[in-house]
């Protein structure tokens, strides 16, 4: 019997676009909470929240991905993620589903995609016959901590 390796993904929407995150990076999903703005923060850091005794930056990935930024609604969620020792709350316009996919089903990022956005994607997966961008927290966090510190 051949064992098929699978990966668990959290499917969410950023603006109108479907995106996915590795469930292993997602610690919790909570309702939208207005963050406290911090003077001088880059546009991707909306502020901070205090959650379960921890100060978490609220990160808006949409500008980094070239997406528009609709205001929060009842569907808006904060995805508490942890990767490489960094924690943050990512803004998501909605959480859609948690799915299990075969690792071999992850396709490479199309070469036609702009490099600025492609660097944040680990690949493409298909869900309900729709392409879904699989985000990579490693490069996203690197952009947040290096690009902004330098700029």
């Amino acid at each position: 019997m051949v064992e098929i390796e699978t990966t668990s993904l959290l499917l969410c929407r950023l603006a109108d676009e479907p995106h996915a995150l590795l469930m292993s990076d997602v610690r919790e999903v909570i309702r939208w909470r207005v963050p406290t703005p911090i003077p001088g923060s880059p546009e991707t850091i909306l502020g901070v929240i205090h959650h379960r005794g921890v100060v978490l930056p609220v990160v808006d990935l949409r500008p980094l991905l070239g997406l528009y930024t609709p205001p929060p609604t009842r569907s808006t969620r904060l995805l508490i993620v942890e990767h490489g020792g960094l924690e943050a709350a990512l803004v998501s316009d909605a959480v859609v589903d948690i799915v299990e996919i075969e690792q071999s089903a992850v396709e490479p990022v199309p070469a036609s995609l702009a490099a600025a956005q492609a660097r944040f994607l680990a690949g493409l997966v298909y869900w309900a016959e729709q392409p879904v961008a699989l985000l990579t927290l490693a490069t996203l966090f690197a952009a947040l901590t290096v690009d902004h510190a330098a700029g």
Binding site: I38, I45, V48, I49, H148
Partner: protein
């Protein structure tokens, strides 16, 4: 979690800030002149029209007067640090956070703000 010194809650540009009480030498009500420096303005944000309270800050370079909408005396509150990777990216005068029940308020070092903004001594 540390306890902050006695604090002043300041409101400017509609946003809340806290500052250590010991940094403020005077608090007066005054008219907002065109040249007045507001706390919100010092952070590059939009001030309101009712920034009528003037707080005086003694710094090494002189005296800085900053206008705010509201100033309240607050007791000690728990003080929290910003996440280390965020510290480098925010205004240098933001030195931490204060926890007020469940909400966070930026803790501002007014003498650092005076240095950063380069205001002339008055």
């Amino acid at each position: 979690m540390q306890q902050a010194d006695g604090l002043l809650l300041l409101v400017s540009g509609g946003r809340r800030y806290v500052v250590p009480r010991r940094q403020v030498s005077a608090l007066t009500r005054s008219e907002v002149g065109a040249a007045a420096v507001t706390l919100a303005g010092a952070f590059g944000e939009q001030p309101m029209t009712d920034e009528r309270y003037a707080i005086t800050v003694a710094s090494q370079t002189g005296t800085l007067v900053v206008h705010v909408q509201q100033a309240d005396l607050w007791a000690n509150l728990p003080q929290l640090a910003l996440p280390p990777w965020l510290t480098q990216q925010v205004h240098p005068a933001v030195i931490g956070l204060v926890l007020d029940d469940t909400s966070l308020i930026p803790l501002v070092d007014l003498t650092q703000l005076a240095c950063e903004t380069g205001y002339e001594a008055t």
